[in-house]
């Protein structure tokens, strides 16, 4: 599967960037046009915003602390590097529908070298620290890779650093670029996983489960560690059997030893996001996401009520422990109380960050 935009918009001044040159070479039949000001492109709906691709210079910072690190939650000290905004997939529960509402056009930045300069400065200033850095927060890390070839810049960069691990997080199977590169143990490729029923109902446009697992097998065979994010876990009638079947497929394809980490996270949506999902109606129904037994928590977000989500975590954890006893497992955006119930421990943010950094290395 590979994304082909209906139209590529190139910001004036970016025409000669390596990203634009690469995109032109990889999309010989695509329609390209230039623009001077993003306002010229006009406002479009969320689904339409994903059909064309904007290539433009990023003028702010690329590198920041993961925004999921909220007060009152155990945080894994993850850092995010944003080389794109929005993604060609259209998951019903995606927070970007709300987060990017005013700026929703699928965009790849044409100056990734500036982002890597930022990273270099931070890594050089703290040689004693181990950093985990991901590009999959505001975008899918690999969905645009067949178009921009960004991984050919990122993988060698991180392969040459001793105190950082790059995580490429995806729901795609776009790994061809990676196979020819040597990550030297510094790159983890991770997949967000859900049962077939959830993928088919909620994760529109993404790679089917077997394609994701087959891609994971291929990168693992090429020297990458892999990771899996059971996030969001979507509670729905039959969830236990459906996740069980997903793990059967996962561990039929991937050895536990290949896995750097698993994260578990409950479906969580702000009330504003829920309104947007409802408003999209038939365009993106979100049947399972809206139907989950979610209630409002202390941070105002809707999550599956605590007892049920702890049971989900425990069921999933049991299955992971049986097949991959050495893999690090962590909860994303959860309180110490839920950590204690589900994981029987409450690591400090620092401990968790160190554990994950260690798990990523060969």
């Amino acid at each position: 599967m590979s994304f082909v935009p209906d139209q590529v918009w190139v910001e004036r001044g970016s025409e000669h960037s390596s990203v634009v040159a690469e995109t032109r070479a990889r999309l010989p039949g695509a329609r390209f046009a230039t623009f001077a000001d993003a306002a010229e492109l006009g406002a479009v709906g969320f689904a339409e915003a994903k059909r064309s691709l904007v290539l433009k210079r990023h003028r702010g910072g690329f590198f920041e602390h993961c925004p999921a690190g909220t007060s009152g939650m155990v945080c894994c000290n993850y850092l995010v590097l944003n080389f794109a905004s929005n993604c060609p997939f259209d998951c019903s529960y995606c927070f970007l529908q709300d987060y990017l509402a005013a700026n929703n056009r699928l965009t790849a930045f044409t100056n990734p070298e500036d982002g890597l300069d930022e990273v270099d400065r931070v890594l050089a200033a703290h040689p004693e620290k181990q950093f985990r850095i991901g590009t999959g927060e505001l975008a899918d890390s690999l969905a645009l890779d067949p178009v921009t070839g960004l991984s050919r810049l990122l993988v060698p960069f991180f392969a040459a650093r001793d105190n950082a691990v790059l995580e490429l997080k995806t729901k795609s199977d776009c790994v061809d670029e990676l196979l020819a590169l040597d990550p030297r143990g510094r790159v983890v490729v991770s997949w967000s996983l859900n049962p077939r029923q959830v993928i088919e109902s909620e994760e529109y446009g993404t790679a089917p489960l077997p394609a994701r697992l087959s891609a994971a097998r291929r990168v693992a065979d090429s020297g990458y560690r892999v990771g899996f994010h059971l996030d969001p876990l979507v509670e729905h009638p039959g969830w236990r059997e459906h996740y069980e079947a997903m793990f059967d497929e996962l561990f039929d394809t991937i050895r536990g030893d290949d896995v750097a980490w698993f994260s578990l996270g409950s479906l969580r949506m702000t009330p504003s996001l829920v309104r947007k999902v409802r408003a999209r109606g038939a365009e993106r129904p979100g049947r399972l996401a809206l139907g989950a037994e979610t209630v409002s928590g202390n941070d105002g977000k809707l999550r599956v009520w605590r007892g049920l989500r702890v049971r989900m975590y425990q069921a999933v954890l049991e299955r992971i422990r049986a097949a991959a006893p050495a893999a690090t497992v962590y909860l994303c955006m959860e309180t110490p109380a839920v950590w204690e119930k589900a994981m029987r421990e409450v690591p400090s943010d620092r401990q968790l960050g160190q554990r994950l950094a260690a798990g990523a290395r060969w």
Partner: protein
């Protein structure tokens, strides 16, 4: 027919444009089923939104239509009960909520049954966190005199020696994960 009924209802209840639009967006069966509930009960904007949220989410959860949820014989029976408008609305929302949250409702039912078996007077309340989302049970005693307070405390102490209180905590902790 449904469309004119819908527009009359929208106007009579002065529904916000966003709520009216949501109602219009439903399929024909859904609109009709919602109006069958909303018109006789005179649901206002807030009440209608609650009913729509619960009915749509239940339909999503079960993979059925809004018409099937609201057309359930149990919902129809609720509307026929000899209750005032406000109590009928309350009963309808409670029924929808149980359908929307089957596991949470089942856990709360078990806890309520144990709480009832403790036989505490109305002046003594044991309140669990909303949606079982917290770790502490809150006990409220109301008393109008020292004697009254002593009696309440003694009743509570006796209740704490009953097996139901341990069962209540067990069920709560199990349900709460």
């Amino acid at each position: 027919m449904t469309d004119s009924r819908l527009e009359e209802y929208v106007e009579r209840q002065r529904l916000r444009p966003v709520t009216a639009e949501r109602l219009r967006r439903l399929d024909q069966g859904g609109r009709s089923a919602v109006l069958d509930v909303a018109v006789p009960l005179g649901l206002n904007d807030n009440q209608l939104r609650d009913v729509l949220d619960l009915a749509e989410d239940s339909a999503a959860r079960e993979g059925v239509s809004v018409a099937e949820v609201l057309g359930d014989p149990e919902a129809a029976a609720l509307r026929q009960r000899r209750l005032g408008r406000s109590d009928k609305i309350k009963a309808l929302k409670a029924w929808l909520r149980r359908r929307r949250y089957p596991h949470l409702s089942a856990a709360l039912d078990r806890i309520d049954a144990l709480r009832a078996r403790l036989g505490l007077p109305a002046a003594t309340r044991l309140e669990l966190p909303e949606n079982l989302e917290g770790d502490e049970l809150v006990v409220t005693l109301r008393a109008s005199s020292v004697e009254d307070l002593r009696a309440r405390v003694a009743q509570l102490a006796r209740a704490c020696d009953r097996p139901e209180i341990e069962a209540l905590f067990d069920v709560w902790h199990e349900a709460a994960g």
